[in-house]
């Protein structure tokens, strides 16, 4: 019997003109691991909410068709009743953890089901052990990191041993290390608990490798439902924005796409196409970067031995020196807590260094992580000048009268960017880039699909100002940056070109670089293809995608 069965489900949110999901039919069997793919607004989240009963019980709206979860029809059973069979994990760990301690959080769903104390205690211990959070059981939830909170929320979803686990972009708020750990954990839980897992995710390369099936959605409809390899073959042909970098690499080389770094490497090796890894791609570049860089231009932004020390707390920045020249595009990378966001705040003058100096040649525009925080007006047109809106791609007159909070995530991001860039402060005739020397963005691609990331990368490349972006997303870095600064424990631990920093690593590397082992510094699939099919058959030359000048030296 299916764990989840949707029969011709169509659903519209209250007041919506068009259905969010339309005529969706699918079955998910016990123990299956299914990846849900699709762009923003394609209906992934709504489908998950139909599978846990939030649609229609919580959201209202118009529901047609039949959704059955573990034999329970959602028309007869609300999310409370379905909670015994379905565990759900949303994006934001902050709003999912409701209790004061981890133990109380894990116990809550079981207590809601009226379980006996011994059963609750045992399930809490087992869930904690399975997720590696036993040491956190008596810790206050307010003291946990984002990754820990997300694990705790997953533990709460698992504690009742549900037959079906639904995850809506669970890694979008996490750094790559915490994200990869969570995905690895899901893989193990799928084997150990035999629960069916449905995971909606934008970064498909993370989870397709071990998925049994992938379902693609577009405009609320299922457009592909197949095994991982078949899905990738379909995506390369019909939906390139859903194809993983590895799939694009293999497809470009005339091979059948496969999911996962290991499988892709095997496929290349079997054809004798796997180049030798470049021994100088990563580790040696760090040594080379210790030489001071000489730059002819006056820096747009200069941090001179900047320290940020918290009163009776740790030092977040430890003598960071960084100069960024006009037009330069810099990616700040590093794990959570490395000091990226603090550095951007210092650049924009939101914080004062406890030691050191920050200088800029003009205004520093800063877009923080949550674009909604910038939106205070009732109409899009009131938020920024027409010039600024046009530059970020929101010049469509139909958008002018929309409420800013009703825009999609990507549109909100662009609107917030227009606001911070807008020299006139929202008045008519504002001059974009007016006195803006530096544009800083903090994690701008969280929860964005690939098409929106490409749009944002293109937009950043067009700006005249220096651009500094703190991000965990190596694919995005490869698309827009000309320089990567890697932070660790508040200091710059590496500073070089994307090819130097991102090739050859694991967590801070693109999928193409991981497949090719850092060979030739190739970061994106196009470079990888050029590398493999170069003039001599094993070497060629390639530039970083999206940049004008080729940077990566390709070696045989």
């Amino acid at each position: 019997m299916s764990v989840l069965s949707l029969e011709r489900v169509t659903y519209s949110y209250p007041g919506a003109g068009a259905p969010a999901i339309e005529d969706v039919t699918l079955d998910i069997g016990p123990g299956e691991l299914v990846v849900l793919a699709g762009g923003s607004g394609s209906g992934k989240s709504t489908l998950l909410r139909a599978a846990n009963g939030l649609v229609p019980h919580f959201h209202g709206g118009v529901f047609a068709g039949r959704a059955t979860i573990a034999g329970m029809d959602t028309r007869d059973h609300g999310p409370g009743a379905l909670a015994a069979a379905v565990g759900t994990l949303f994006q934001d760990p902050e709003t999912q953890v409701v209790m004061g301690t981890v133990r109380a959080e894990l116990a809550l769903p079981l207590e809601n089901q009226g379980e006996a104390p011994a059963a609750v205690a045992r399930a809490v211990e087992e869930a904690a052990l399975a997720l590696g959070i036993a040491h956190l059981l008596d810790r206050p939830t307010a003291e946990l990191s984002g990754g820990e909170l997300q694990r705790v929320a997953l533990g709460a979803a698992l504690a009742g041993r549900p037959k079906l686990i639904l995850l809506d972009e669970p890694t979008s708020q996490l750094d790559p290390v915490a994200g990869d750990e969570l995905i690895a954990l899901l893989r193990r839980l799928n084997e150990d608990f035999d629960a069916a897992i449905v995971i909606a995710e934008h970064r498909l390369e993370r989870c397709l490798g071990f998925a049994d099936r992938a379902i693609a959605m577009r405009r609320g409809r299922v457009v592909c439902d197949a095994g991982s390899a078949e899905f990738l073959a379909w995506a390369c042909d019909a939906a390139p924005e859903l194809a993983t970098p590895g799939a694009r690499l293999l497809s470009g080389l005339g091979l059948a796409p496969v999911a996962g770094v290991k499988a892709a490497r095997s496929a290349l090796r079997a054809r004798g196409l796997l180049p030798d890894p470049d021994p100088f791609a990563a580790g040696a570049s760090v040594q080379r970067d210790r030489k001071p860089r000489r730059r002819a231009e006056e820096p747009a932004l200069e941090l001179d031995r900047v320290w940020h020390e918290i009163d009776r707390g740790p030092a977040i920045l430890r003598g960071v020196s960084l100069a960024v020249v006009p037009g330069e595009r810099v990616a700040l990378m590093g794990r959570n807590g490395a000091g990226k966001s603090t550095l951007l705040r210092h650049a924009a003058g939101l914080m004062r260094p406890t030691r050191g100096k920050v200088k800029s040649s003009g205004r520093v525009a800063l877009l923080l992580q949550n674009p909604t925080d910038y939106l205070v007006h009732e109409r899009v047109a009131q938020e920024a000048s027409p010039g600024a809106l046009a530059t970020v791609g929101l010049g469509d007159p139909a958008l002018a009268d929309r409420h800013p909070r009703d825009l999609s995530g990507g549109e909100k991001q662009r609107l917030a960017l227009a606001i911070v860039l807008d020299g006139a402060g929202g008045g008519a005739g504002g001059d974009l880039n007016y006195q803006t020397a530096v544009v800083c963005l903090d994690e701008p691609t969280r929860g964005m699909d690939r098409r929106r990331k490409d749009d944002l990368a293109a937009l950043l490349r067009e700006l005249d100002a220096a651009v500094v972006v703190a991000t965990h997303d190596p694919e995005f870095v490869a698309a827009f940056a000309g320089r990567v600064v890697l932070l660790g424990e508040g200091t710059v631990i590496a500073d070089g070109s994307p090819a130097e920093i991102l090739a050859g690593g694991t967590y801070f590397a693109t999928e193409t670089a991981r497949i090719l082992g850092g060979a030739g510094g190739a970061l994106v699939s196009e470079q990888g293809i050029a590398l493999v099919t170069g003039p001599t058959g094993s070497a060629g030359s390639a530039g970083s995608a999206g940049s004008a000048a080729p940077r990566a030296e390709v070696r045989a």
Binding site: F58, P79, E111, G425
Partner: protein, 290 residues
């Protein structure tokens, strides 16, 4: 301000006892009017804050409570026309009319203000030193949904405070003149409602809507620790002293028509006993873990 487990005797006591201790202090505040008794209660609460290691949070609460206390005092001073000892003639004031400030009304206003401050501090002590999850477990059988809402409110305070800081930072990043307070308030409210919706959805999928009343005896009984016993005894003693002092009128206080607040040996003894009862449990640090 929120609960965080600390290595203190009060944090080590069970939630029911912690609640009882804070409630006893609040009851003493309500029952006793003599300035010396109220002073003893306020000093007891301050001492408890030190003993529980929540001085910073309590200081913040006191800073919020102080203006309220002063306001209560000022309003009473201007509105209450009782008392014989005029200390200032303010003449004909708009709204208030002919206003004479009397010593009696001023002192009574100060007593009311002090009482308001003490009650706020009792609430702050409860918030910072009593585990809300345990409180939820206590009330689970009676009113689970209300208790969970209260727990959630406590948990959401730091989250919303972080949201507010983020919003303020984002507004500083906007070029041009800052948006009006009304606009900001509307944006903040929208943000809070979004948060509330997310939390409500998370609670729904955790089975909140279908939560059942737990069976009798569902909780695992744990033995009473020395701290449970000490704070329970302290709470009983504080209530006993307060009720006894009130019934026996050991700490008389009168503010109309003239001020009458003698502090006899019995009254001083009651105040000292209150202080000792409230703070004695903090002397024992054995068997405490964070």
């Amino acid at each position: 301000m929120s609960y965080r487990r600390r290595a203190s005797p009060l944090h080590a006591a069970r939630a029911s006892v912690g609640c009882g201790y804070c409630a006893a202090l609040a009851l003493a505040t309500l029952l006793l009017s003599a300035p010396v008794a109220l002073g003893a209660v306020v000093v007891s609460i301050a001492g408890a804050a030190v003993g529980a290691g929540v001085v910073r949070e309590m200081r913040r609460a006191a800073l919020l409570a102080l203006p309220l206390g002063l306001l209560v005092m000022a309003v009473n001073m201007l509105v209450a026309q009782s008392g014989l000892t005029v200390i200032a003639r303010l003449g004909d004031l708009p709204v208030f009319g002919q206003t004479d400030v009397t010593l009696e009304a001023t002192v009574y206003g100060a007593v009311l203000g002090l009482r308001a401050i003490a009650l706020i501090l009792c609430g702050a002590l409860y918030t910072t030193a009593v585990d809300p999850d345990e409180v939820l477990a206590l009330f689970r059988r009676f009113s689970f949904h209300s208790a969970l809402s209260a727990t959630l409110a406590t948990r959401m305070v730091p989250v919303l405070a972080r949201d507010a800081r983020r919003l303020a930072e984002a507004q500083r990043c906007r070029p041009g003149p800052p948006p009006s307070r009304a606009r900001l308030m509307r944006a903040t409210t929208s943000g809070v409602l979004d948060r509330a919706l997310d939390v409500a959805a998370a609670l729904e999928v955790r089975g909140y809507g279908a939560a059942r009343r737990p069976p009798r005896g569902w909780r695992v009984r744990r033995p009473w620790s020395r701290h449970d016993l000490a704070f329970a005894a302290a709470a009983v003693a504080i209530v006993g002293l307060s009720v006894g002092a009130r019934v026996a009128n050991l700490l008389p206080f009168q503010s109309d028509p003239s001020l009458h607040a003698p502090v006899g040996a019995e009254g001083a003894a009651v105040a000292a006993a209150l202080l000792i009862c409230a703070l004695l449990p903090f002397a024992d640090h054995r068997g405490i873990e964070r």
